[in-house]
Symmetry: C2
Subunit: 359 residues, 2 copies
């Protein structure tokens, strides 16, 4: 597919911007820096990648791959600052465990061990902490991982928000596949493992700022079993990513950029529950940008797509998996959305932060 003149102009501008050394133009941190979109990417590249630069960090994947002795390990870290702490379908405890388990799983690792760091605010109810620890344990048991070390800090009232949790996970990579977003190539299929956006919309509704009632629960779940099913079915998997902050659209943009390909998505093919679509419309946000916590996107050799989809659908968590698009050669670096109305639009990285503190 050749880009239209308008697309080509956008593409040229994107390329010019992307070619520059990233610079954080803001003097102060904003919520957008934590949203997973453009501002986050710039912050990470301009400050953290610049300071810590090394070949293990540079892929900036969900997990770093480490060689230790004869083993290949995956290491990932994630802080959870979700508000409210308890929401339909889960709480910060299982969210944190599942989130870390999922980052390991989509990196192709079998999750093994977790380290948990708590930052508690003075005045936080001990009963809530007990409940959160219980959820963590249940989620860890379900995922077959163990919390093996931890740390607890307490900050004064007004210097936190009840409970923040950092979870770092260690997993072992046992297969031979090299999963890498840069390996995605034209002809590959793009598959999502289920309906999107449920976690983010559930959190927004749980805050009660909007007077919307919807029969929705978070999709928080560990996907390691589903990932194993997929990897066992075919050697055609190029890469996987769990669609958390910034949603599916962010993953697609990362793939387009990393592999220098176009991602062409059919809006009609994206599974979205009506309740999510309705609430997202009221919130003024596209479900493609809303966080999921139990869904992932896989990029699979087009010839293997049917086999991959069948494998995913055999697993209860993947029953509603769907091929939502394909990879094309042109225009490299862009995500194009074929809309339900027959048009095509560019689906760029998120700007700003319409949904803060979702995870």
């Amino acid at each position: 597919m050749k880009p239209s003149d308008r697309e080509q102009r956008v593409l040229d501008r994107v390329e010019r911007i992307r070619g520059r050394r990233p610079v954080v133009r803001e003097k102060l941190i904003t919520l957008a820096h934590g949203a997973g979109g453009k501002a986050t990417q710039t912050l990470i590249e301009a400050i953290f990648l610049e300071a810590f630069r090394n070949p293990l960090l540079e892929p900036l994947g969900d997990a770093a791959e480490l060689a230790v002795g004869t083993s290949r390990l995956a290491l990932t870290t994630d802080s959870f600052v979700v508000t409210p702490l308890f929401f339909p379908g889960g709480d910060i405890g299982d969210l944190a465990v599942n989130g870390t388990v999922n980052d390991l799983a989509v990196a192709g690792a079998r999750p093994l061990y977790l380290a948990a760091g708590f930052i508690l605010e003075e005045g936080f109810p001990v009963a809530d902490l007990t409940r959160i620890a219980g959820s963590m344990r249940e989620a860890a048991d379900a995922a077959g991982v163990r919390v093996v070390t931890g740390d607890t800090k307490v900050v004064q009232r007004g210097k936190g928000d009840g409970c923040y949790i950092n979870i770092t996970g260690v997993g072992v990579i046992e297969h031979q596949a090299r999963l890498d977003l840069a390996a995605v190539r034209p002809g590959d299929a793009v598959i999502v493992s289920g309906p999107i956006g449920e976690h983010g919309v559930t959190i927004m509704l749980a805050r009660g700022d909007l007077d919307i009632e919807a029969d929705l629960v978070s999709d928080t779940a560990p996907v390691h079993g589903l990932v194993a099913e997929l990897l066992g079915s075919t050697d055609g998997v190029r890469a996987m990513r769990d669609a958390t902050r910034g949603g599916v659209a962010t993953i697609l943009n990362e793939a387009a950029r990393a592999a220098k390909v176009a991602v062409v998505v059919d809006e009609d093919a994206i599974p979205v529950r009506p309740e999510v679509r309705g609430a997202a419309e009221l919130l003024g946000i596209d479900p493609l940008y809303v966080a999921c916590e139990g869904r992932f996107v896989s990029f699979v050799d087009g010839a293997e797509a049917d086999r991959a989809l069948a494998a995913l659908r055999r697993h209860p968590l993947g029953a509603q998996s769907a091929v939502i698009g394909r990879i094309a050669a042109d225009p490299p670096g862009l995500v194009l959305l074929n809309t339900a109305f027959g048009g095509t639009r560019i689906c760029d990285l998120l700007v700003g932060d319409p949904l803060p503190r979702i995870c």
Copy 2:
């Protein structure tokens, strides 16, 4: 040494309390729960150990030891919430890297990889973040470790305090020694690797609440080189701990409890700079309870103490190492301090939190 009648009564009470299943009696989290003393220990045992119970977690050491393939790994996590973020001798960045490197080092591991999680408050200056990342890089270079993965979250104004950092570290254990506080035994020497309490007192003075001027800087430093020197000099090292929250007194109590021995310390032998002693007196706290961030306590076979001390003193960071006491059989579980005035007192775990947010 037989306990006196008074000591025996204290000991009986301590044993009765310790025999009980730990329970957090407070309904709300207090700063004491984060101070590293009694309340922290109860919180960890009653809530986290109870929820996550497994053999790898139960030693509750500075790092968990994990078997992965043919390798022995150490995993440790620590959140840093120090205020102020910048202080004489360092900042939250090098403090965080050194703190995690040290937890690995005293577990007998060679530090290799770090994962860094940032929780930033909206409005935090980007220039400060850049400076902190630079300090982290310098500290990582000095310790021979790499930051290989990370995460950034942003919380609203008033829900954080500028910048919190969680660092999780992975190291590899290459020696055959089994370091374990429970292995400490009567006749062992207790060695500190330098003057104590400098970090904690420096932070208190940097807050400016007290109008004290003192020529003090934090002792924040990576101790992995010093630890290697010690472990290379003798097979007599039973255990090591870095003396952070709760200070040296907390480590001594943990050893007394874990090994069911008495720790007998000579107050006169403890290296404390006059500036630290003076400031601690004004603050109304014993330097034994004040955090260090570049000192560790080692428990060494008495027959090897001279050799160990000589090895420590050969290293610039350990030039002022000192034997501060010895291990006795009785009274088990207690730390006894022979005071400068010729008396003996029990040096128990810290109660409350006189020095919050030191690390």
